[in-house]
Amino acid sequence: MRVIKKIGEWFDHRLQLAVPIREVVEHPVPRNTASWFYVFGSAALTVFLLQLVTGILLALIYVPSAGEAWSSLQALNHQVALGWFIRAMHGWGSNFMVAIVLIHMAQVFLFGAHKFPRELTWIIGVFLLLMTLGMAFSGQVLRFDQDAYWGLGIGASIASRVPIIGPAVVKLMLGGPIIAGATLSRFFALHVFVIPGMLIAFVSLHVLMVLKLGINEWPMPGRIVKRTTYEAEYHALTKSEGAPFFPYAVWKDMFFAAFILMAIAACAYYFGPFGPTGQPDPTIIQTAPKPDYFFLWLYALLSLLPPSLETPFLLIGPVLVIIGLILLPFLSGEGEKSWKRRPIAVVTVLMIAITLGTFTRMAQFTPWSPHMNAWSGEPVPDRYIHGTTALERQGALVFQVKQCRNCHSLGNTGGQRGPTLDSVAVRLTQDQLIRQVIQGGGNMPAYGNNLSPAETTALVAFLETLHPATQSPARDAARDLVLSESKPKSATQP
């Protein structure tokens, strides 16, 4: 024991770290911040450290070359002992990271922790969120498969829309005229050197400020933050009912950190690593690229926005969001902290969460994407053919062969891009069906040039059979009237 103490003293005589470390560890925190609500920041830090370790491990095998990255991922998955597990930990770690960072942000906002004097902590946190998303996107690129390749194409297409400098930005982003070796190399540099370096610096500042300014006290309704008095009040609070951070508050952080690590390991073990999907060969187009889960909401948004709104939304939206997040602590730097007295804050968080959640959910089954193989793989259900005439069956064939199924579902199979047609005859009359097929409209292409009159007749005859047994097809009453009126006329005319 004495030897260890001696060695410790030898080091501390030179490092002089014992006193500052003790101050950090024992600094008093408001007693009620030792809460399970206050564990997300340290959990994010823990996952960040996990990502550093697993990332370095992956770099031992991974080759950042467009020609070899994909096979090195295969080697990690199948050849190197437990390579699959490290990949899975890193991939699930990134999912957890994004989720925890978002939860941390929501909690901090709802507890008013962004208010005076912690504005800068919040702003640095905003940059940390952006960097986390940057890591998520660049990490998806390093998993250099089909999704990564076409995902880069999507990124380039978005970047190209920046006025004037768009084309230059694309070439800078891709490192050349196309998505190729230089693209992967620069995303490797971003993912492994640039962003992690910035993350380490910003995380250090973030944590330093938490220590210097103190952990946000539990918000009490009615305890108003004022720039003139807050710091004295906080100081008095930590004096009167403070407790040393270690071990009073830290044990909950430690428990939660361990729980998160175990959860990531469990997901990694049970669900395995993400991909890689097919080879990044641009001549293989049989693919429906999809982003990882944290960008699914964006994927949904891009298909649901009206085309004319898309570019302004993509270019101006993020700028407004970032400016808004940065200005937030200045706009509401004082006043109530408690969510119980901040209904707009609560509703805002709920709205954002519900919106992102809905878009993410929709992007999981992509109702806007045509099913490319539905026309050849998903036949018209038997019951729709049963007891039909030859013409109607011919129409069903046209329906199938002309790829209508790729966008229209029948009996719950086929695409969902267009409306389901199980009862289309109830909605549209014969004339309307013919017009819709030939001229298109809404979001449907015009098929006039690709259907012969005979095919159109057959197709419409088939579509007219699509109605529930209890409901008759839509009829144009005026048409019957016109026909009945014109008949006697034509009879009397000659």
Binding site: S65, A66, G67, E68, Y149, W150, G153, I154, A156, S157, A159, S160, R161, V162, G166, P167, A168, V170, K171, L172, L174, G175, G176, P177, I178, I179, A180, G181, A182, T183, S185, P280, D281, P282, T283, I285, T287, A288, P289, L302, S303, L305, P307, T311, S369, P370, M372, W375, V401, K402, Q403, N406, C407, R417, G440, N443, P445, Y447, N449, N450
Partner: protein
């Protein structure tokens, strides 16, 4: 040692020796930074600058005209003219060739004009469909439906000695459709 005099900041006209060297040192470092910045920035922007002077585009052979039957649309692949040693398969590019008749062609980029996903050709319905966000185009590349704001990107082409050649070499994107040479042809709006 404790009586070290505090160096007074040079007040206006008087410039101390130390202050002078301090300023000279800053200037010297500024010059060094400029000297280093020029090659660093030029290196960083090399992929952009090349596009501006000379361009990445050049004429690429797609193959014999007979490979593309009249009235049909077929996929063709070509190797991107600008290649780096680590590119692997990524320089192999696909495109859709529509042989209208005789020497009349249309060569479409594989990339959807919305966000660059690979469009598929369906000869039966005469449509290109995109698997990502559901963009669709007619056989002549015009927008049919979905989120794209324009028709498919077209490569300028020429037929020389029975060989179909296109001007390619760059990923076409909505902001940079790479159709400079096809100015004489009416491009899709």
């Amino acid at each position: 040692m404790t009586t070290n005099p505090v160096i007074a900041p040079s007040a206006g006209d008087t410039l101390s020796r130390r202050g002078f060297f301090m300023k000279l040192g800053i200037l010297f470092n500024g010059v060094a930074a400029m000297v280093l910045a020029v090659p660093i920035v030029r290196f960083l922007l090399s992929s952009v600058a090349r596009g501006q002077e000379k361009g990445y585009l050049s004429w690429v052979h797609l193959g014999d005209v007979t490979k593309f039957p009249e009235g049909e649309t077929r996929m063709a692949t070509f190797r991107n003219p600008f290649v780096m040693p680590t590119d692997g398969k990524t320089v192999d590019t696909a495109c859709w060739v529509r042989h209208i008749s005789g020497d009349q062609f249309q060569v479409f980029a594989i990339n959807c004009a919305h966000l660059g996903c690979p469009v598929h050709w369906f000869p039966q319905s005469g449509l290109f469909m995109c698997p990502c966000h559901g963009g669709a185009y007619y056989r002549d590349g015009e927008r049919a439906s979905g989120p794209p704001e324009r028709g498919l990107f077209e490569y300028p082409y020429k037929v020389e000695n029975g060989v179909l050649t296109i001007n390619a070499g760059q990923l076409p994107t909505p902001g940079d459709p790479v159709a400079r040479l096809s100015a004489e042809k009416p491009s899709c709006v």
